[in-house]
Subunit: 282 residues, 2 copies
């Protein structure tokens, strides 16, 4: 321990921070005793000092892999749950599109949507990921955005009647193409815009007038505002995992020294499934 998930908030002169799983060695907080398993904000290091203000949850259920608490049962899982059920107001039979759909959040949003009876299509950046979406996660369709010259045409192919719900992870050209394919009263949950983070100047989005014409609802959100939903989320998701109704794919890198390459790999889309770094098997 800890197993660190790749989602870092760098602070100057300190190890990168990310969501990880760890065992308590010592605690001055009476709620945590030696030996307890926790997940929350840990450092990219073998031993972490965790301040009380950090996100921290005690792990109660250990019949699933502990690494799941960096993903499907941790921050990305709760992100998918809050984003889909609280922001998207989904209804049975609706048309759902998810970008970066094979990531930790996307794969779960798609499975939630399928369980609700929606039609679900995802985009990803390799054949391997597209196959995963269709064959492992049960999406109705999936495409490799790198192989599409015209994203608008690709979306029209999969959504001839338009999109009710877009779960946004990438921004840029994809968002612009989605806007013209949204249906009236469509909802866009903005979880991230990874295509834009490292640009000197973000791309211009030209189709925002669709927001007026189609009365579209767009909402940015962060999991930090939804931590109170965590118990309810576990009640829903743990049974699905145990029954095999929801599956989960991780991309596991071994050793703290593999962390930097794993982080850089996220931006080129090298990882397949949730990127996890095993710091210690204990």
């Amino acid at each position: 321990m800890p197993i660190s998930a790749i989602s870092s908030f760098p602070l100057p002169f300190s190890p990168l921070r990310g969501f990880g799983v760890a065992r308590v060695l010592e605690s001055k907080n009476p709620d945590y005793k030696k030996g307890d398993l926790i997940w929350g904000t840990t450092g990219w290091e073998e031993y972490s000092l965790i301040a009380e203000k950090e996100a921290l949850f005690k792990i109660q259920h250990t019949d699933v892999p502990l690494s799941y608490y960096t993903g499907i049962l941790g921050m990305p899982g709760l992100t998918a749950f809050a984003g889909f059920y609280e922001i998207c107001s989904p209804k049975k039979g609706e048309y759902v599109f998810i970008s970066a759909a094979s990531g930790a959040v996307g794969q779960l949003v798609g499975q939630f949507a399928k369980l609700m009876g929606c039609y679900v299509v995802g985009s990803a950046g390799s054949k391997e990921k597209v196959d995963l979406l269709k064959n492992k996660f049960g999406f109705d369709g999936a495409f490799n955005y790198k192989e599409e010259n015209d994203l608008d045409a690709a979306l029209k192919r999969f959504f001839p009647e338009g999109i009710d719900i877009y779960f946004e992870h990438v921004g840029g050209k994809m968002l612009d193409a989605v806007l013209v394919n949204m249906r009236d009263h469509g909802r866009i949950a903005v979880c991230g815009m990874i295509s834009q983070y490292n640009l000197d100047k973000p791309e211009g989005i030209h189709n925002l007038m669709c927001i007026v014409y189609k009365r579209i609802h767009i909402k940015g959100f962060a999991v930090f505002d939804y931590f109170d939903l965590y118990p309810k989320f576990l009640d829903v998701v743990l049974p699905y995992i145990r029954q095999g109704k929801i599956v989960y794919v991780e991309d596991i890198a071994e050793g703290l020294e593999s962390g930097p390459a794993a982080l850089v790999g996220l931006f080129s889309g090298r990882n397949v499934g949730k990127q996890v770094v095993v710091v210690s098997h204990e």
Copy 2:
């Protein structure tokens, strides 16, 4: 009659349609009898045939100018009411910015916001309009966007602590500047984007990543979805008008022949207040 408001939806080979006030001369619908006053979708013509599917409301209160039913007591008024109270979730003390603020909708949104105890600033396109916002409608501040080289700097001058609510009428560069000045959990009600309608290609908006960072909520809306609120709206607004707590400014053009110039004037911002065309004083 009718008095036609300038908000047209052109149909081929028929007069322009807009919201107007008229007196019933003949009706096959038992709900409307000869002599009744109505407001709703009328033609730019002296005599209109109104189909049942059109928006149509009977005028019950005639102690206010009838032209008000093309504006503050009609479609723009209900737009302001639904947009502000239903979309913006306003709270006392919040920071509110309104673009195209001297128009029929903007002037009313600003007054609703002041009545709620918000800090309100509007933008407009002439000194005359800016003076109107500050001196007639009681805005806390107003500026002429045509005189600002740097809209971001202008917004920071008026909103050093950021914007909670943006009532959007214009789009383009103004929206881009507003996004970076929004506060966390800010709300943007998108009523229109008039700066973009006549461009071959709409301007690119570059600051949408703020939606994620600040968990911003953006919602496009159309008054057509809120007609059921009309009775409640009248109950709120009519007393305010009678007590002088809400004021209203119209720009009245005389005669049907003045209609085309009045319509074109909207796009250059020539009108001050709600543009109305008097077709007949009856």
